[in-house]
Amino acid sequence: MSVKGFKSHPYIPNSVPEVEAEMLREIGLTSIEELHEEVPQEIVLKENMNIPEAFGSEYELRRHVEGLLKKNKSCADALNFLGAGCYQHYVPALCDEIASKGEFLTAYGGESYNDFGRFQALFEFESLVAEMVDMEVVNVPTMDYSQAAATAIRMACRVAEKRIALLPESMDPDKREIIRNYCEPDLDFVIVKADPATGRMDLNDLKAKLNAEVGAVYFENPEYLGMFEIDAQKISDMAHAAGAQVVCGCDPISLGVVASPRSFGADIICGDVQSLGIHMNYGGGQSGFMATMDDPKYVLEFPSRLFGICQTSKEGEYAFADVAYDRTSFGHLRDQAKEYVGTQTALWGITAGVYLATMGPKGMQEVGETIMRNAQYAAKKLAQLPGVSLRFADPFFEEFVLDFSKTGKTVTQINKALLAKNIFGGKDLSKEFEWMGECAMYCVTEIHTKEDIDRLTAELACILEGGEA
């Protein structure tokens, strides 16, 4: 028995029976069943789909979804120390205000004329991020940091006309997987070992693996494990000497106080702007970018849209439009274009622009300073707990690795006990980085107070004494 539809649904104006009948008449039909005459009967669905009946009202729908979400315990309900690529920072009110403006929220593929504001806001995003990374070209955002890194590596290998890229062992394993999926089978990857004592890239191993076939050397500052890449300049120099391009990832919220990777020789910079005024959204706040200097050698390798300033037919008026559109797969070239482009994360680009414009130079310096102090304080306090130590000695930005190997407890046990105290402990690294031992990566930002950190320290002390685990 076939379904007959849902009449007068609030989202579907022409489901009003009288209107529907009138429109059907206009096209010479008597029933909506007569639509889809081109679909062969043998593949027309004869039965109702097995999908729950619609809620009878908006109120019931709201109650239902709110009920589901109440089963979540969010970082607003608990004290969170998870980072690892998705960060809890303060989101200024303006960011939410602009991100929820209906005009931006529901725009899509309009032109430079009627979507003028979308083009300008994204041009401004490019421009504001360019100031942070000290580069001249930034793209309309891509999916996430991993996608940005993957594209940056592909760009670098095209520029170098080579097909091997070096990746650090200590990087986010998920990011490595995403890069692989995006770049294979065109590119091959070689892993550069980490020094187990310092967590740094092993420069001897880098030297051994650099050769004339290597097109890109990828690393990050701060690196995945939180530390500053002390050898950044050396890595860069070695890569360049071997004829490879340097691709460096960064966290833009650090760049109010930390130098841009350009200063130590990065040719292409990438990163994620989620930290810039975008809620975590269970991972749905990620939004990646790439940046280069304004050299056509690089610019023409971007697969993304690049919005630039454009003149109009009216003297003195300016607008915004696509720069070098034909390089993208939207142009005539399709599969022969640079990679591909499509819907990515434009709204987060606009939001990150609002964040940077709101914070200003002083705000970005201050937030960097606050984050570093809070994180340093937390690391210091936590490393004083019996059996707990900092796994690596190098200075770090907002994340640090705690070694619990000598506590007699596993990170799994510790995090479970913390959860019972309404604390989300640091990311368990013991599975992905077995060589480190029982380690967890803690993230402390400007949102944490001394009281929060002291509470974590006290609860951990209690757990490690054996009382609570």
Partner: protein
């Protein structure tokens, strides 16, 4: 005072907001602050060295040259830019063909903005994420039901990444059979989205294009000639952007299977098919849905979005981990697929855009099976109503299957209008903006001459459709009466006609304000 006259539905008095708003850097006033930032507490400062810990060569010497702007001015700037953007909330959305731009319910936005959604960290313990995991799990089940597939991943962040997902699945499948080097071609059509060619090409596939036959279906003889031992898959939309449904789809999918290849369904055009026909019965092995199109999540100027990729059971082991499952008591992540040596790698960080899935879930639950069916039927009714009215115009035509129904959209041709008036589709596009309307031509290259692609979805009312039709007619008429004025459009949009002569010139282009100042000041 006279009675208000509403007899002319064309908004001849429209003018879009035009604020002449400077680039944000021009608003800087040294010393102004947009927001105050909390400092580390005194006791923390006393115990730490702060930025002094940064190795000297990694320290930022100069503050970033961001503008310094007070809070109300930042707000006003972006509020004005928002007004200069023609979102779906404010216009009759018919003109963005292929984009399925429908109403995005506000209640879904409010739900997605609750702290229990947006303050969720993706690595939280599963016990603290049962609500969102239930939503991910159930939406996955609904998609299986709507498509006939056996499993979905919500990771891909849009339609194009979903196509990469399908191509990755195909690659993994043949790799598991040791055939990835041999099966290195994917067949698609010239009417498919550019990403149906570009994304598989990224996975190393050679792309073979099919042209349409006289009915607008992919040419079956050409298809047969293209299929050989190198063919990995056939990627196609149905209907394609012409709105023509390929009646012979089973012939294609069967033939492909007989020759050892797979079939991937680009379901960007699924909106007209919900509850009517499904991917699996049409013989597809993998497919994807755009949640920001068919399932009402807002487009957000181009994301965040979700392109959920589905597949039949034999491809499920290749899907990227993790997959949400339910053990009867609780939801949990299954990482088994990560162990599959041939499985596709992860495609997006964490679990993709979960808040977008939540919006799709809420939309499905607001409609139920009958509502989904109604949405599809009304979208098709709206399109065929529009089609009939426009095809009555002597200078509008649409290639293929004359007299037959289209599904949810149509690609028309204005070739005759161009011949008679010198006014082309790009001119009409710009002129429609003067009435607050979107209008879309086609992807490149233009296979239909002077293309016009319209997709009304189920959102517009009959009055909205009539307004759009009346506006188009007004503009078409102007092509005969005042083509010069028309060709100079837009007149009432945010800016005047672009001069894009500098956009391909490295000496002149300016992708950032910094680059602009270097070149022009």
């Amino acid at each position: 005072m006279k009675k208000i006259d509403r007899s002319n539905p064309v908004r001849t008095g429209f003018h879009q907001a035009k604020w002449d708003e400077p680039v944000i850097f021009e608003l800087t006033q040294p010393g102004e602050r947009g927001v105050l930032v909390n400092k580390a507490e005194k006791a923390i400062c006393e115990a730490t060295e702060g930025t002094a810990a940064i190795p000297a060569f990694l320290k930022r010497e100069q503050a970033p040259a961001l503008p310094e702007i007070s809070q109300p001015r930042v707000l006003r700037h972006y509020a004005r830019l928002a007004q200069e953007t023609l979102g779906t909330d404010v216009n009759v959305e018919i003109g963005q063909g292929t984009c399925t731009v429908k109403y995005s319910p506000k209640v879904n936005e409010q739900l997605a903005n609750l702290p229990q959604m947006r303050e969720m960290h993706p690595l939280q313990d599963e016990s603290t994420a049962q609500g969102i995991m239930e939503i991910l799990y159930k939406t996955n089940q609904y998609f299986c039901e709507i498509s006939g597939m056996d499993a979905f991943t919500m990771q891909p962040g849009g339609g194009s990444q979903a196509i990469l997902g399908m191509a990755s699945l195909v690659y993994s499948y043949f790799k598991s059979r040791g055939e990835e080097k041999q099966r290195n071609e994917i067949i698609t059509t010239i009417y498919s989205h550019p990403s149906d060619a570009a994304a598989p090409h990224l996975k190393g596939f050679k792309i073979i294009y099919l042209h349409p036959d006289k009915d607008g279906y992919p040419d079956f003889e050409a298809f047969k000639a293209a299929v050989n031992e190198h063919t990995a898959a056939f990627f196609v939309a149905n209907p394609e952007d012409t709105g023509v449904y390929n009646k012979n789809v089973l012939k294609f999918t069967s033939y492909m299977h007989e020759h050892g290849g797979l079939c991937g369904y680009d379901q960007a055009n699924a909106n007209g098919l919900l509850g009517v026909t499904r991917a699996r019965e049409a013989g597809f092995d993998t497919c994807f849905f755009n949640l920001h199109k068919t399932f009402s999540a807002p487009h957000g100027c181009g994301g965040p979005a979700c392109g959920a990729v589905g597949c039949a059971d034999f491809l499920e082991p290749f899907l990227p981990a993790p997959i949400v499952r339910f053990d009867g008591e609780k939801y949990y992540y299954d990482y088994e697929n990560a162990k599959n040596p041939y499985g596709m790698h992860k495609i997006r960080e964490f679990n993709g855009a979960a808040q977008v899935v939540l919006k799709a879930y809420a939309w499905i639950r607001a409609l139920g099976a009958e509502g989904l069916y109604q949405a599809a039927k009304t979208a098709v009714l709206n399109n065929n109503y529009l089609f009939k009215k426009l095809m009555e115009l002597p200078f509008v035509d649409a290639p293929y299957i004359p007299g037959k129904q289209r599904i949810e959209q149509c690609r028309y041709t204005l070739e005759k209008l161009l011949e008679e008036t010198g006014v082309g589709t790009a001119d009409i596009q710009r002129r429609m903006m003067d009435f607050g309307m979107h209008y879309w031509t086609s992807h490149h290259p233009y296979y239909v001459p002077e293309p016009m692609t319209l997709e009304p979805t189920e959102t517009p009312s009959k009055a909205d459709l009539d307004e759009y039709i009346a506006t188009l007619k007004y503009v078409f008429n102007e092509a005969y009466t005042d083509p010069k004025y028309l060709k100079a459009a837009p007149h009432s949009s945010v800016c005047h006609q672009l001069d894009e002569s500098n956009m391909d010139d490295p000496e002149q282009w300016a992708v950032t304000w910094r680059a602009y100042r270097k070149k022009y000041q």
